[in-house]
């Protein structure tokens, strides 16, 4: 008797337990689906938001590009300026100035000096061939050269040759090296 009653009780408990599990599984599955729907909606919603932002950014870019295009003239002037400045700088940096050399030529042009040959070389050097009619002229010329030397405008000032002719004049050959 007892055995029979006990069997029914176990069956009922088993069924109740199964029903409970089934209920939990159902609830979990609904929760799972609900969570999926939530995540899917969030994902799609975020994508829609991003796409809208992308489109709005595109419009902003087009507007800014149009603004820049309307100011194209200013940009072209600016590009021209920087390009020309670069070239002008390179020309000015590389070129040797001869005006100072000419000034120095004027300075050494002492009395009784006859310049017979002159050459301004590519590097800004100056070569002078001349004749001093007497020693006073040669001394004066030397003094002027010493003055110019002291200014250190030239790398060196060389007397290539100094010779005395039978007439008493002095032939001078000078190089001003820049």
């Amino acid at each position: 008797m007892n055995k029979g009653i006990n069997l029914i009780s176990t069956e009922a408990r088993k069924i109740a337990k199964e029903q409970k599990v089934k209920g939990k599984v159902k609830t979990a599955s609904f929760a799972f689906v609900a969570f999926f729907i939530f995540v899917a909606s969030l994902t799609i919603g975020f994508l829609v938001f991003l796409n809208q932002k992308y489109k709005s950014n595109d419009k902003k870019i087009i507007a800014l590009e149009n603004q820049i295009k309307s100011l194209e003239k200013n940009e072209s002037y600016l590009v021209t300026i920087t390009d020309r400045v670069k070239h002008a700088k390179s020309v000015l940096d590389d070129r040797k100035t001869y005006s100072k050399t000419i000034e120095d030529l004027e300075r050494i042009y002492v009395n009784e000096l006859e310049i017979t040959g002159l050459d301004f070389g590519a590097g800004g050097d100056m070569k002078i061939e001349g004749r001093c009619l007497n020693l006073t002229c040669l001394t004066e010329l030397n003094n002027k050269i010493e003055e110019i030397k002291a200014e250190k405008e030239y790398q060196e000032i060389l007397y290539n040759t100094v010779s005395r002719s039978t007439s008493g004049s002095y032939n001078v050959n000078l190089t001003f090296k820049k």
């Binding site: 689906v33 992308y54 950014n57 590009e65 200013n74 020309r84 400045v85 002008a88 000015l92 040959g117």
Partner: protein
């Protein structure tokens, strides 16, 4: 035995029926994850990276637009015209000839002859060169003062010209004892460079003009501008397919 099997089938069927909805839900969620969530997440990454690029571009464009708006068109025009006078865009043999004749004559130096080596004038290869030079030689006859003033003026003139060499053929002493009269050859070099072909992408940053550049422009303003004596009509220089330069 047969009865047992029937009971088992029934049990399985019943169990499957009872768990059909949860199983279907799980399957749907898995399918949805693979076919919806994962691809959409990929799209999100892609769009976000595109938006990031757009934001960078917007920031660059905004900065450029603001900078361009703040610039004075008149000042830019004046500076660019001055610099184009300093380094012209095209190698113009005739203009250089006229200009050099003008400088030399203005300073009272007598011209004996001209010699040009124009090389490539307007060929495509000549246009590709960044900075090209046009060497020319002037045979002159002058007294010292005029020669001095010519050299000084050449060093402060536009277009920019460099003196390569001055060779004196003869130096004649004057009766007054002042500096001799000279005759010789002066080798000059004038420069040309084609304009840039395009302005580049809109988001490309604007080139910067530094203080040294401004100083150079100010310095060049004090130089004497030589222009061709007879100008028929201003010619538009074409650079690139669409010329963005209004010169």
């Amino acid at each position: 035995m047969n009865k047992d099997i029937t009971i088992n089938k029934e049990a399985i069927k019943t169990t499957l029926e009872e768990y059909l909805i949860p199983v279907a839900a799980i399957v749907l969620v898995i399918i949805g994850t693979f076919f919806l969530i994962i691809p959409k997440t990929g799209q999100i990454q892609e769009v976000r990276s595109k938006i990031k690029q757009q934001d960078t571009k917007i920031s660059q464009l905004s900065q450029k637009a603001a900078e361009l708006s703040s610039l004075s068109e008149t000042e830019l025009y004046e500076s660019s015209s001055l610099l184009l006078a300093a380094v012209p865009a095209e190698k113009d043999f005739y203009e250089t000839l006229m200009m050099s004749k003008q400088i030399v004559s203005e300073n009272g130096v007598f011209i004996e002859s001209f010699k040009f080596a124009p090389g490539e004038v307007s060929t495509e290869s000549a246009k590709k060169v960044t900075l090209s030079s046009l060497p020319f030689e002037i045979s002159f006859n002058s007294n010292f003062e005029n020669l001095k003033s010519m050299v000084e003026n050449i060093e402060k003139m536009l277009p920019l010209v460099t003196i390569d060499r001055i060779r004196f053929g003869s130096v004649e002493a004057t009766e007054s004892g002042s500096l001799a009269d000279f005759s010789g050859k002066i080798n000059l070099m004038s420069y040309f460079s084609p304009l840039p072909k395009s302005l580049g992408a809109p988001e490309k940053p604007l080139p910067k003009i530094g203080n040294q550049d401004r100083e150079l422009v100010e310095k060049l303003k004090s130089y004497k501008k030589y222009e061709p004596l007879a100008v028929e009509e201003e010619e538009v220089i074409t650079v690139g397919k669409e010329n963005p330069f209004p010169f």
